[in-house]
């Protein structure tokens, strides 16, 4: 047996993979004998492991200094087999459970057992996405678990760091166009021994980050959680014996794999599901971008999901765009992570949640695309920009299957991008600083098939979404909130509307140098969608700022301030209330530093809607208007719901007028609509002449260059020679 516990770990990994290949079962486990012998003991042990993880994470959050970890829980921990497969995990940013698995396997495959050696008490760290993470700020630490000299597992922890030392402050480094500007890389490095971080590693962090206190204390928090989990596992092995541990830990994973297949067969319908979304990247004229590629890009993200009769889910990204000289590329590790965190939310709500679920799926990531770059020098600092929309498509495809099968309570229109704001410069204390502001972890969610989406309460990467407390953010940055408000009409319209987003308005205070940067900011297109007749949520909103405003003068005179940009997209409340220099900026915000007295607003995104708008409940809509989720005008114009006001000025639905208006709107639809065949005939002429914006033409040419299937399907649909049509744009 090559995978006996005393064999070199690389041989154990190879043997484990061979057994999976040979039997189709994890580690060749064709029978869950321990589970069958004593199911109660089996379940109890896994529950204990999960408790170790949850407890270790909570303890570690109290060591961290970062509001990202302490306030919004940007951390996850997990326990792994010696070969690096997750057995049990905590709550939190579960996207990283499988990325850490890749990191451990990478070290094993690259001979780390010989050099630098894997010993009891060692600490290994990584934030290189091509080894196993999503983006530079996601720094992971793992420690081996030895028992009587035998490697019996790993404990691992990830925190999202608020500052990574890149070309712009924060971690989602929008300006990075190659890996060399993303920040401080730690590439599968041994950063500590004997349970202690090396001093030279800490010094390197202190000298290469704008705000090292976050990173360094997070390192200590992660090491503490790993030691905690390690000691718990060793105590457990004292009770159950090492042979039982080595066997049961792998049965847990095989059980997880089988449970995932069974759940797919229980909840879905076999077949092929298709969907797409888009992302607009506009950098033309922005300072700092090197002319390495086109300044503006339109990305298409088509996905075909196949649910096989065996319950296996396969996701295929064929037809999407190539990697580029921007920060939104993703690695297979990041794509795996996106799949894992989505599955944990939508299918793995019972049973043993671990890497087994991931093993019951397959990702097809075409080489050379942003999902699987054929160049390891590319930047991945803002890969979430494309990951989140992509896995929002996955959620809609899964939801189509839930609706078909009757589990309507699980159908969910999906996650959306939630643009990040980051900053650096001189703090209100007069010290250098840099940080990401993590209130973005509370966007609006897509609607459900039976109710509205969650307002300001969901992001895909962390199921326990939280925007954090204003006071904590204000302690850490030289900005004061003068507004944090729900954005009316920001959920996609539908029978059930998408969750609404919020926007913050800040007064820059007590600094003369504040750099503000934003990312994950799609322009000119929706990067989300609706479902079953629901509309997408609005596009990312533009940034508004007022430089050299008269805010202090207004406040001194006790005159009213603007607390949000307001509801007129053509003329903001800022322009009505403030004096100063007004800015309106599309896409990532990269401009000159701000100073005390400037005003800045940043908006997050809402979710897509579900079902026909004309079926929306009128009473619920009146409540929405009363509470600021919808405007009265939108209720009537978009949803066909007529509202009057009661004696207190509160909205009241007029059911008869609503019925009449909806009848008229339905008739208008039929008058306006044309047969699809007629529209296609007209559109085909446009396609034949490539009568599109340059970025649209380039998108088609790029997709066709990489994908024969995309080309074939395009050609068959329009009855054209696509490559010839877009030949000029392929250069």
């Amino acid at each position: 047996m090559l995978n006996k516990p005393t064999a070199p770990i690389r041989e154990r990994l190879i043997e484990s993979e061979r057994l999976m290949e040979q039997t189709g079962c994890y580690n060749g486990i064709t029978e869950l004998s321990l589970r069958n012998d004593d199911p109660l003991r089996f379940e109890t042990l896994h529950t204990k492991l999960r408790a170790y993880c949850v407890s270790a994470r909570e303890m570690a959050r109290r060591i961290s200094a970062s509001p990202g970890v302490r306030e919004v829980g940007e951390m996850v921990v997990a326990i792994y087999t010696p070969e690096g497969d997750a057995i049990a995990l905590s709550n939190g940013i579960m996207v990283h459970v499988h990325t850490m698995s890749r990191f451990i396997k990478w070290m094993i495959r690259n001979g780390y057992e010989e050099n630098p050696g894997i010993r009891d008490g060692d600490i290994f760290a990584n934030n290189d996405a091509f080894i196993g993470t999503v983006q530079v700020p996601d720094v992971m630490d793992v420690m081996p678990i030895f028992y009587d000299g035998i490697l019996v597992g790993w404990a691992g922890a990830v925190c999202h760091e608020l500052e990574a030392g890149g070309i712009t402050p924060g971690g989602d480094v929008a300006l990075a166009q190659e890996r060399f500007t993303e920040g401080l890389f730690v590439c599968a490095e041994k950063v500590g021994e004997n349970d202690e971080l090396r001093r030279d590693y800490v010094i390197r962090c202190e000298r290469n980050l704008r705000m090292p206190i976050y990173w360094v204390l997070d390192e200590k928090a992660k090491v503490a959680s790993c030691i905690d989990m390690r000691e718990s596992v060793k105590s457990l092995i004292d009770e159950i014996g090492v042979d039982y541990w080595l066997k049961v830990s792998k049965e847990f994973i095989e059980e997880g794999r089988r449970a995932q297949l069974a759940r797919t067969r229980q909840l879905t319908v076999p077949g092929k599901y298709r969907g797409h979304t888009f992302y607009g990247h506009v950098t033309e004229g922005k300072p700092g971008y090197q002319p390495l590629g086109d300044p503006n890009w339109l990305y298409n993200i088509p996905i075909e999901m196949e649910v096989g009769l065996d319950g296996k889910i396969t996701m295929d990204f064929e037809g999407t765009q190539p990697w580029g000289y921007h920060s939104m590329n993703c690695t297979p590790a990041g794509m795996d992570g996106g799949m894992f965190v989505t599955l944990t939310q939508h299918m793995n709500f019972e049973g043993l949640v671990n890497d087994g679920a991931w093993m019951a799926t397959e990702l097809k990531l075409p080489h050379g695309t942003w999902t699987n770059p054929d160049n390891e020098l590319v930047a991945t600092a803002t890969s979430w920009a494309l990951l989140l929309p992509a896995y929002g498509v996955f959620q809609r495809l899964l939801s189509r299957s839930f609706v078909a099968r009757g589990f309507v309570e699980e159908a969910f229109v999906g996650q959306v991008n939630s643009p990040m704001i980051e900053m650096g410069g001189v703090s209100q204390y007069g010290t250098p600083f840099g940080m990401a502001h993590f209130e973005c972890a509370a966007a609006g969610s897509g609607a459900l098939a039976i109710k509205d989406g969650l307002d300001t309460a969901y992001v895909g990467w962390n199921p326990e979404s939280d925007m954090g407390n204003i006071e904590i953010w204000e302690q850490n940055m030289p900005m004061l909130y003068i507004g944090r408000s729900i954005v009316p009409n920001s959920g996609g319209a539908g029978k059930y509307r998408g969750g609404c987003s919020f926007e913050s308005t800040w007064l820059i205070n007590k600094t003369d140098h504040l750099r503000l940067v934003t990312s994950e900011h799609s322009s000119r297109v929706f990067d989300n969608a609706g479902m079953c007749g629901g509309y997408p949520a609005p596009t990312c909103q533009k940034h508004r700022a007022v430089r050299n405003s008269n805010v202090f003068e207004l406040a001194g005179q006790g005159r009213p301030l603007a607390h949000t940009p307001g509801q007129n997209p053509y003329h903001s409340d800022f322009e009505m209330r403030f004096e100063g220099e007004f800015e309106l900026v599309e896409g990532p915000y990269i401009t000159a530093p701000h100073k005390s007295g400037d005003i800045f607003s940043h908006s997050y995104n809402g979710g897509g809607g579900y079902g026909d708008v004309l079926e929306r409940d009128a009473e619920k809509t009146a409540w929405d208007v009363e509470n600021g989720f919808l405007t009265k005008e939108a209720a009537e114009a978009v949803f066909g719901i007529v509202l009057h006001e009661d004696a207190d000025g509160m909205p009241l639905p007029d059911f008869d007028a609503t019925a009449r208006l909806r009848k008229r709107k339905r008739a208008e639809r039929l008058e306006k609509a044309v047969p699809v065949s007629q529209w296609l005939e007209k559109e085909r002429e446009r396609v034949k002449h490539a009568d599109f914006a340059p970025e649209v033409r380039k998108m088609y040419a790029s997709a066709m260059k990489l994908s024969q299937r995309f080309t074939r399907e395009f050609d068959e649909f329009w009855q054209v020679d696509g490559k010839a049509v877009f030949a000029k744009d392929a250069k």
Binding site: E350, K451, G533, A634, A673, V696
Partner: protein, 162 residues
């Protein structure tokens, strides 16, 4: 085994079940007899008798009709063979101008119509909005769902289709 009455499933589907009860259903083990109760609920809802085989959207169903297995709107309009993309037989409204987009997004920033349009797929008989696509101009219409209907009934439901 978890199981709910047809009435509970009907209320759940209609979005009328009280939230605490819905929440309990979401948290509980799933009911394995859901599918056929769901089909009964939908069959009661539609005004026609062709047996529903599979819902594919809120108001679209694959059913067994005298003309074969077709995709049918709740109003009774048939979009033809279920294996073909029903959207190609629908009516469409395309929002590809700022004015048309502004009707749906009155207070927010909107996409550039040169980069993206909204396509509304509508039943030509009753005017129900069945699906909305947000796509770049020229993007082929998506065939959302091609179910393995035979395999589903045969292997997952244990009731092969005739």
């Amino acid at each position: 085994m978890t199981s709910y009455s047809k009435e509970v499933i009907a209320d759940l589907v209609a979005g009328k079940l009280p939230w605490p009860q819905t929440r309990r259903i979401m948290s509980a083990y799933k009911d394995d007899d859901r599918f056929f109760k769901y089909i009964q609920v939908l069959q009661d809802r539609v005004g026609w008798n062709d047996p529903i085989l599979l819902p594919v959207s809120e108001h679209l169903f694959i059913c067994d009709s005298p003309e074969g297995r077709v995709t049918k709107c709740e109003c009774g309009h048939s979009f033809g063979d279920y294996r073909k993309n029903w959207k190609l037989s629908a009516s469409i409204i395309v929002r590809d101008t700022e004015e048309a987009l502004r009707e749906i997004y009155p207070t927010s920033d909107i996409p550039d119509p040169q980069w993206m349009e909204i396509r509304e797929f509508i039943c030509p008989q009753c005017g129900t909005l069945h699906e909305v696509e947000a796509a770049a101009p020229g993007y082929p219409i998506v065939h959302d769902f091609e179910p393995d209907l035979e395999g589903f009934y045969r292997e997952w439901l244990g009731r092969p289709l005739e």
